[in-house]
């Protein structure tokens, strides 16, 4: 019985490799360089929820039915975030990074892997509070069109607002979060003026290239799903995209220590994983 289980694990590993290859060949979504352990977990969820017995069966369905791909991407990409998740990070952006950004007449900020928009709205609100919004262009990118659409709607369940509000206050918020949304039918609808300076775009850190020169890139809890090689690609892309001495913010438990580009950045606020491009 144990041996059967171990055999089954090996078969699953083969099936997953083939499934990812098929997803890429057929639809150009590239998950081949994703960290295996959590990817496997999410693929198992997808297989079970779609009522399919094996990954091979999932592959067969996916190849012939594009509607399945949308659902599969939902399992593989959608992450739950919060406004001002990790308030200490946003406090450090506000107190340590913003003073540098003020010295530029115009700014570009890239929220890479913007998912359903929580991080984006946090930045726009923070920049409005700091009087920088008018000179800033925000790029929100993701590989999932569904996530981008959700981000562009900016509607969140009302029961999440309490946590958002608490985070905003802890981040050093200078206004009331309720200034930025109205409520209707149990939902909080964020003001559309928050999107005046935002460009939403389909962009993959895995397969796409540099598209503008940024002063600040925030990419939090996105690269944790990549293997080390793919992380290197993404960090290299960020380095190329940043202006001289531009800033890169990562998630609380992400680090450039294990990256081949570790030397290309210096720690700007070490405990909040905010880095600065190293330039002479």
């Amino acid at each position: 019985m144990e041996n059967d289980r171990i055999q089954e694990e090996k078969i699953e590993d083969i099936e997953i490799r083939l499934l990812l290859e098929a997803l890429y060949s057929r639809y150009h979504y590239d998950f081949r360089g994703y960290a295996q352990a959590s990817l496997k977990r999410r693929l198992r969820q997808a297989r079970d929820q779609l009522g399919l017995p094996t990954f091979s069966a999932l592959q067969d369905r996916m190849l012939r039915d594009p509607a399945i791909v949308t659902r599969l991407l939902g399992f593989l990409t959608v992450q739950v975030s919060e406004l001002f998740r990790d308030p200490a990070y946003f406090r450090a952006i506000r107190e340590k990074v913003v003073p540098h950004l003020r010295t530029y007449p115009s700014l570009k900020v890239w929220i890479a892997g913007s998912s359903t928009g929580e991080e984006l709205y946090s930045f726009v609100i923070l920049f409005r509070e700091e009087g920088l919004e008018d000179r800033t262009l925000f790029y929100a990118t993701d590989i999932s069109q569904e996530a981008l659409d959700a981000a562009a709607r900016g509607i969140y369940p009302l029961d999440r607002i309490r946590a958002f509000t608490e985070n905003h206050q802890l981040s050093g918020g200078k206004s009331s979060l309720s200034d930025y949304y109205s409520t209707a039918y149990g939902r909080a609808v964020f003001d559309k003026s928050l999107r005046d300076r935002v460009v939403f775009s389909d962009h993959s850190l895995v397969t796409d290239a540099v598209f503008a020169e940024m002063h600040l890139i925030s990419c939090r809890n996105v690269m944790i799903y990549f293997d080390r090689e793919l992380q290197d690609r993404a960090v290299g892309l960020f380095r190329e995209s940043l202006a001289r001495k531009g800033f890169l913010g990562l998630g609380a438990r992400e680090s450039l220590r294990f990256s081949q580009y570790a030397g290309a950045f210096s720690a700007f606020v070490r405990e909040e994983k905010i880095y600065q491009r190293r330039d002479p």
Binding site: M1, N3, A35, A37, R41, M223, D227, R253, F258
Partner: protein, 202 residues
């Protein structure tokens, strides 16, 4: 049921919830400097409590204790606590990967998530222990450890501050070994002592 060949232990995973701190204070400080296995621990803690457990235990343990960054190696002689609000997983190359996908068993970090990935990574070389707690997290994970040929241990529910979690694990893995915390310490010390390897692999 086939008996797998004795396999040297290569890693320890421990999950605990309500009552965790007291139970772990009984166990982890007894692992001596130079302990040859990585020890990966999930405790259910509220988000925003960054580094609280790691610093509490670092002050009391001879081993290095910390919350890992993503891609950090699961190094021998290190105790790694899952960071609050992240799932902690082990990859096949024995590095840590983190995830913020939704809670599992209402928990992030989740014991099931760590145990299932570690069972994949270490197979029969894994020792998994589910300790005190008031929910069902860890039961599926411990079953995965056992199914991969690893050693499944639960804290004896009669001795646990909160018996629900070890009971749930026992219900799914009836052949898991019930140990007191002292028994667990002896087992972990034996697993780290190559001269006793024969005794711990059944």
């Amino acid at each position: 049921m086939t008996e797998s060949a004795p396999s040297a232990p290569r890693a320890v995973v421990i999950g605990a919830s309500a009552g965790a701190v007291e139970a772990l204070l009984h166990v982890l400080p007894q692992l001596p400097r130079g302990y040859p296995l990585p020890v990966l621990v999930v405790v259910h803690v509220p988000p925003q409590r960054r580094n609280v457990l790691a610093s509490l235990f670092a002050a009391r343990c001879p081993l290095d204790v910390r919350e890992p960054d993503d891609k950090e190696p699961a190094a021998p002689g290190t105790i790694l606590f899952a960071p609050p609000d992240y799932h902690m997983l082990v990859e096949a190359d024995r590095t840590i990967s983190l995830s913020v996908e939704g809670p599992v068993q209402f928990s992030r970090p989740s014991i099931d998530v760590l145990f299932e990935s570690a069972a994949d990574a270490y197979g029969p070389g894994l020792i998994g222990a589910v300790l005190t707690g008031a929910n069902h997290d860890g039961a599926e994970g411990l079953a995965a450890v056992a199914a991969a040929g690893g050693m499944a241990i639960v804290q004896d529910p009669a001795q646990a501050a909160y018996p629900v979690m070890p009971e749930a694990a026992l219900a799914l893995t009836p052949r898991a070994e019930r140990l007191t915390l002292d028994g667990l310490v002896r087992r972990l010390l034996a697993a780290g002592d190559p001269s006793q390897a024969g005794e711990i692999s059944r």
